[in-house]
């Protein structure tokens, strides 16, 4: 086992990519630490499956290198990389029994019979299919088939990493929780590097220590769930993580002041003068409703009660702005303003977060 390093990696499915859009993966350099539990998060078509297939060796990148530790694996086959992968839709060998399905990867590697039997028993226990081992795989439910696929992914002990490509899509919600918890548990017990592709933020945030967010063929941010929440590096991260996502309002930034809808808002930091599309991003958790003249003019459209808090939906000018009001706090009937908490506000220039300039902060 070793860390997995992607070095200046990029990929295109076209033979002669010329334009920016031709690239399914834009150049990236990324390190996956050994034994980490990663989630690869993004909407469909953003290139996450491509990235996964490059790591497992099913796909050869157009440019760049894949390193396991200091060993260059770019040209090596899936077999030589020794990686396990579970796919979105269940892949089972219909004509085999559940037992043979689970034993298949081990037998192909020529493991002695008694070790195979021991591993299969262990994995069957893990996926809760011990009493079904002698059934034919054909005719099982999609749930059961996907559990077999997961089991086949986990049956080999010596793998460098286990990759999951949206493995719980076909599983019903109750089972999802259980299987995810088991995966997490498995990670704790065996310490395999695990990369879990999903477009569901809950799934990503509950499974992973580190979340890698992809957007349009790029890795836009990699970090802990907390970091993604506190300081989204890209508007997509802000929008994609959180429920509801981060509010974004077009703003003119001048030093430590933001101008929105003719209102001047003080910021916690200075940013200098910014050229391009500038926006102020702030999560609904850090907005307060108010009345009177202070803050941004706000129109409430509706209020949703989701149990432990309420979501107020409305808009500032043309921008949709949501506010989360904790349980027990009253919502004034005549609320017509929102007040941002400057410490949690971020400035975005052409969708990328702008780091506050130290100079002005000092000033």
């Amino acid at each position: 086992m070793a860390q997995i390093i992607l070095e200046n990696l990029s990929h295109s499915y076209l033979p002669n990519p010329s334009k920016d859009e031709d690239w399914a993966l834009k150049p990236m350099t990324l390190t996956w630490e050994d034994g980490g539990a990663y989630a690869l998060l993004g909407s469909s078509g953003c290139g996450k499956s491509t990235l996964l297939n490059i790591i497992s060796g099913l796909l050869r990148p157009s440019r760049g290198r894949v390193l396991f530790g200091d060993r260059d694996m770019t040209g090596l086959s899936t077999m030589e990389r020794n990686i396990a992968q579970v796919f979105q839709f269940p892949v089972v060998y219909d004509t085999m029994s559940v037992r043979d399905n689970l034993a298949f990867p081990l037998r192909n590697r020529g493991l002695p019979q008694d070790q195979v039997a021991a591993r299969v028993a262990e994995v069957a226990e893990m996926i809760g299919m011990r009493d079904m081992l002698d059934r034919r795989a054909r005719g099982l439910t999609a749930d059961a088939k996907q559990k077999i696929s997961l089991g086949r992914g986990m049956v080999r002990q010596d793998v460098n990493a286990i990759l999951f490509d949206e493995p719980l899509t076909v599983i019903d919600p109750h089972m999802k929780w259980e299987l995810r918890t088991q995966l997490k548990d498995l990670h704790r017990r065996f310490g395999h590097t695990m990369i879990y592709v999903t477009h569901d933020q809950t799934e990503a945030l509950t499974f992973a220590d580190q979340v890698v967010v992809m957007y349009d063929g790029r890795v836009v941010q990699a970090g802990t769930p907390q970091a993604l929440f506190d300081a989204p590096e890209h508007t997509f991260v802000g929008y994609f993580i959180g429920s509801p996502g981060m509010n974004l309002m077009d703003a003119r930034i001048e030093g430590a002041t933001a101008h929105i809808e003719g209102v001047q808002l003080p910021l916690a930091h200075g940013y200098g003068a910014l050229e391009g599309k500038t926006q102020l991003g702030i999560r609904p958790e850090f907005l307060r409703l108010g009345t009177g003249q202070e803050g941004l003019p706000y129109t409430i459209r509706r209020i949703e009660d989701v149990g432990h808090h309420r979501i107020v939906r409305g808009h500032v000018g043309k921008a949709d702005v949501n506010v989360i009001v904790p349980e027990g706090q009253p919502i004034p009937a005549d609320a017509n303003r929102v007040l941002p908490d400057p410490v949690h506000a971020h400035v975005y220039l052409d969708d990328w977060r702008v780091a506050p300039s130290n100079l002005e902060r000092a000033a």
Partner: protein
């Protein structure tokens, strides 16, 4: 991602396909080669290609009504058969794919057994049947006779395609106030258009290639091209050039049909059941 990830087939596969296609094409090429030679050249020195290519054989066929009417006859009964088969098979296939009714399974199986009936068994009874009702040597007689194996096949293919259309579509249409015939023609048939195409292709194919029945049921007016060929062989015996040219001309309609359905061939051959 699909194509790239899927196993890239190597040179071995290309070689296998090249050899197989060569095996398929060589006899046809040989026929083409002969059709462009004169009889003297065919029987004279052996050559892999015509030394003095001539279209004389084709001219013979295309200017002689006893030859070219064979094509007209064949195409006439083939088209008639295809239309009849599809027309009667459509409602029946719908019934099998949508409803259960008394005797449905037996009926379906009995229909399929007709596909297993050897033409040789039916040749003589057909001859007597159609003679007795005065249809001997007509196009419709051959078209009806070919229904024996084409109707079951069409029902079977169409049933496969129709079962792939969710029944909710029918129900929605009825709720929207469509009558059955209007629903069937306006909504359902467009949905299974490729299935109809595939079924028509197979009806055309089996009617076009069959000879035993079509020859037995005709003498002059509806004589198929294939029969014209066999008689010419036995009569003049050795007119190889014309025989080859006639053969090549029988391949052309099939080739055209294949060209039109080339994108559906794979699915079509699986009869919509994959």
């Amino acid at each position: 991602m699909m194509a790239v990830v899927a196993e890239t087939k190597g040179r071995g596969a290309a070689l296998v396909m090249a050899l197989y296609l060569l095996f398929l094409m060589l006899p046809i090429y040989w026929l083409l080669n002969m059709s462009l030679k004169t009889n003297t050249e065919i029987l004279g020195a052996f050559s892999l290609w015509p030394k003095n290519p001539t279209l004389a054989n084709y001219r013979t066929i295309l200017t002689d009504p006893s030859w070219y009417m064979g094509y007209v006859n064949s195409l006439t009964y083939v088209v008639m058969n295809t239309v009849i088969s599809i027309t009667v098979a459509l409602p029946a296939a719908y019934a099998f794919s949508r409803y259960r009714f008394i005797g449905d399974k037996h009926l379906f199986f009995w229909l399929l057994t007709n596909r297993m009936a050897p033409a040789a068994v039916f040749a003589l009874p057909f001859f007597q049947l159609y003679s007795s009702i005065g249809l001997f040597d007509t196009h419709i007689a051959v078209a009806l006779a070919h229904c024996l194996f084409n109707v079951p096949l069409a029902v079977w293919i169409l049933e496969g395609f129709m079962s792939g259309v969710p029944r909710e579509i029918d129900e929605t249409a009825y709720i929207d106030g469509y009558s059955f015939p209007r629903f069937f023609v306006k909504i359902f048939m467009p949905l299974i258009a490729s299935g109809i195409g595939v079924a028509a292709f197979f009806c055309f194919m089996f009617s076009w290639v069959e000879l035993l029945l079509s020859r037995t049921l005709t003498s002059v007016n509806a004589k198929p091209i294939a029969a014209t060929m066999t008689r010419t062989v036995s009569a003049s015996g050795l007119d190889w050039g014309v025989l080859a040219a006639a053969g090549i001309l029988t391949i052309i309609p099939g080739a055209l049909v294949i060209w039109f359905v080339r994108n559906y061939i794979a699915k079509g051959f699986a009869l919509g059941r994959v």
